[in-house]
């Protein structure tokens, strides 16, 4: 057979295989729940919870190890799963360790608790997140939950609107975000500035 025909055939076959690889990946992704591009999750446990071998707690039977890992030796977990770099609390915890969700409660918000942490008890936060000694006396910023400024008040603050609690109930049937319910009604203006064009004052 002609040498050039063979070379052409090899190029065609290689291209076909490359196309088949892409087609396979697309097909597999379409028939299976996609999990996206994720790194091997880090080991989230604090040293106090470490055991000698991961398999004391994790096993395929409990679905806490993927089936694909079944032939890996139990002492090789840290080949892929590095210890987590723990986030340290950059402010005082004078409010106590049970009140973290007051500011960090909304998972979707900046500095909110990650969705993967919702299984932990509130009192467990400090097990993994110790206070940064250099900042242990620092007060958290107001409302302490967002990199972005608190929402502005979109209406004037006189007359009927002078009393926030008139509309934004702080008790039952509150219209405030859940994590605001511990704030006193007269402290709204500490964070929320009015930018209404005809605003005449603050609360």
């Amino acid at each position: 057979m002609n040498h050039r025909i063979v070379s052409t055939l090899v190029v065609i076959i290689t291209t076909l295989f490359a196309a088949a690889v892409v087609l396979f990946a697309s097909a597999a992704a379409s028939v299976t729940p996609g999990v996206g591009a994720v790194p091997a999750p880090n080991n989230p446990h604090p040293p106090s919870q470490h055991t000698d071998v991961c398999s004391e707690c994790h096993s395929i039977d409990l679905v806490s190890i993927p089936v694909t890992h079944r032939l890996f030796s139990p002492d090789t977990c840290d080949s892929c799963h590095s210890p987590s770099v723990r986030v340290r609390v950059p402010h005082t915890i004078a409010m106590g360790d049970s009140r973290c969700p007051l500011c960090h409660g909304e998972p979707a918000r900046d500095f909110g608790i990650p969705a993967s942490h919702l299984r932990f008890e509130t009192r467990e936060c400090l097990l993994c997140h110790p206070v940064d000694p250099a900042r242990s006396d620092r007060e958290p910023p107001p409302a302490g939950m967002s990199k972005s400024p608190a929402n502005s008040i979109p209406h004037p603050l006189d007359g009927t609107f002078k009393d926030c609690s008139y509309c934004h109930h702080v008790l039952a049937r509150s219209t405030l975000p859940e994590n605001h319910r511990d704030f006193a009604a007269d402290t709204c203006g500490d964070c929320h500035e009015s930018v209404g064009s005809d605003a005449t004052g603050t609360e």
Binding site: M1, N2, H3, R4, I5, V6, S7, L9, V10, I13, T14, L16, F17, A20, V21, V22, F24, A25, S26, A27, A28, A29, V31, T32, P33, G34, V35, G36, A37, V38, P39, A40, P66, V67, T68, R70, L71, F72, S73, D75, T76, D78, S79, C80, S82
Partner: protein, 446 residues
């Protein structure tokens, strides 16, 4: 047309064998193995690399059905190029895993705690790189053919075993029982074919030894070895075919080389003697062959090849040979003369200089006896007394000799060094010769 259909059949079977498990993997996919699209890409490239490498074993196992459709030199060329392509797929496999961030670069740098299936994969990749590297750079590394052939076979089987262990142990898609079964069946089949070629077939030659009856020096630093069968009938061959020959203590020796017959396979009732003409080109042909004496035992695995006039129909033949590439063409010419075939034959015999014109006396004598033969000798370097053509065979030279009304209907057989082959594969279509009438045999196939 029948040959084309056979080619299409084998080509289709090749694609099906390789791609079928990917279809099975999607159909029977276990959601617990779910990952990102790039991980799927990576798994597929790794799988393609493994199966391509496994099928490489079958491509070189001299399976007659496949060799008959494509020719062994084409299969070896395909084997070489697909081998390099499979390395590209193998390299893409870990790169995609790291690109996906499913794993870190640490996975590629093994330590004592690296999982053993990963180590197996790394070992397979390194061995594959070694196999390809030694093949591509064999001559540069001055590696003898025999040593390369042995290491090539052993490393290939070991690398496929490592890769199989890797893929079965990691088990994303191979965790499916149907996929595991399919993969294991593939590997057993392909390694079985390879062992049949490397062990069973050589052992079958044990009862069919040949004896060297003459080692004759030829022009162009070549030697003609005449072999006679010992206690068996030998075989017939089609003019232009070749056989693997070796002179080891037993037929299991890896030091066998593909050499074209230079004798006439058509002589009836002869004593079974066959002849090979070998140029001093490499370590074996320059050191071993010239030292072979009459009485030595030879092992012959053949005949092989589809580079033969017996499988092509045409209004005439054009035989273009460079240097010792004239060997299979001379075999064809002898058969054409024996058969009293009156169709026109044009032989373009090219060489660097007059001393390189192997079989020049024999060809001249044949031209005297055959009115249908036109012999054109072409030298790159010639003294003033030279009466033949000078330079290289090109379109101008061909069209000066070939009959304008007929040459597109002739069959073209070309054998010689790579530059001549490459040039003819460009020149002949350029003057209107259909591609399916151009047949080549590269004697530096391994």
């Amino acid at each position: 047309m029948r040959l084309i259909l056979r080619g299409v059949f084998w080509f289709g079977l090749y694609l099906t064998i390789i791609l079928f498990p990917l279809v099975v993997a999607v159909v029977f996919f276990d959601p617990r193995q779910a990952a990102g699209p790039i991980v799927y890409l990576s798994a597929a490239t790794g799988y393609i690399a493994l199966v391509l490498m496994a099928t490489e074993l079958a491509l070189v196992s001299r399976f007659r059905g496949v060799a008959g459709a494509f020719g062994i030199d084409s299969l070896l060329q395909f084997h070489r190029q697909i081998g390099i392509a499979s390395m590209a797929f193998a390299a893409a496999h870990p790169v995609l895993l790291v690109a996906d961030r499913a794993y870190t670069m640490r996975l590629l740098m093994p330590t004592a705690t690296t999982p053993w299936p990963v180590i197996a994969g790394l070992a397979a990749f390194l061995m594959a790189a070694l196999v390809v590297g030694l093949s591509v750079y064999r001559r540069l590394l001055r590696l003898s053919y025999g040593l390369w052939h042995t290491t090539h076979g052993v490393l290939s089987v070991v690398l496929i075993a490592f890769a199989a262990v890797h893929i079965l142990a990691i088990g994303r898609f191979a965790a499916l029982p149907v996929m595991r079964t399919l993969l294991i069946a593939y590997l057993v089949f392909f390694i079985g074919m390879f062992l049949r070629y490397r062990l069973v077939r050589p052992l079958s030659l044990w009862s069919q030894p040949w004896e060297v009856v003459e080692n004759r020096r030829e022009h162009g630093q070549s030697h003609t070895l005449v072999l006679r069968p010992v206690d068996h009938a030998g075989f017939r061959f089609e003019p232009g075919q070749f056989a693997w020959i070796g002179f080891g203590r037993n037929p299991l020796s890896a030091d066998k080389h593909p050499i074209s017959f230079s004798s006439n396979g058509d002589i009836p009732n002869h004593d079974g003697a066959i002849a090979f003409t070998i140029k001093e080109l490499g370590d074996w042909s320059a050191d071993i062959v010239p030292a072979i004496r009459a009485g030595a035992t030879a092992w012959v695995d053949g005949p092989h090849g589809v580079f033969t006039i017996d499988r092509e129909e045409g209004a005439g033949y054009v035989l273009i040979g460079g240097g010792v590439g004239i060997t299979p063409l001379y075999s064809m010419l002898q058969a054409i003369e024996t058969r009293a075939d009156v169709r026109p034959v044009f032989v373009f015999h090219a060489a660097n200089d007059f001393d390189d014109l192997t079989f020049r006396e024999e060809l001249a004598a044949t031209a005297e006896r055959m009115p249908s033969l036109t012999l054109v000798s072409v030298l790159v370097r010639a003294d003033d007394a030279w009466g033949g053509e000078r330079g290289f065979v090109d379109a101008n030279m061909l069209t000066r000799y070939l009959p304008p009304a007929l040459y597109r209907h002739f069959q073209y057989f070309i054998c010689g060094p790579t530059p001549l082959m490459d040039a003819m594969e460009g020149v002949l279509p350029g003057i209107g010769v259909p591609a399916d009438r151009i047949h080549t045999e590269r004697f530096d196939m391994v």
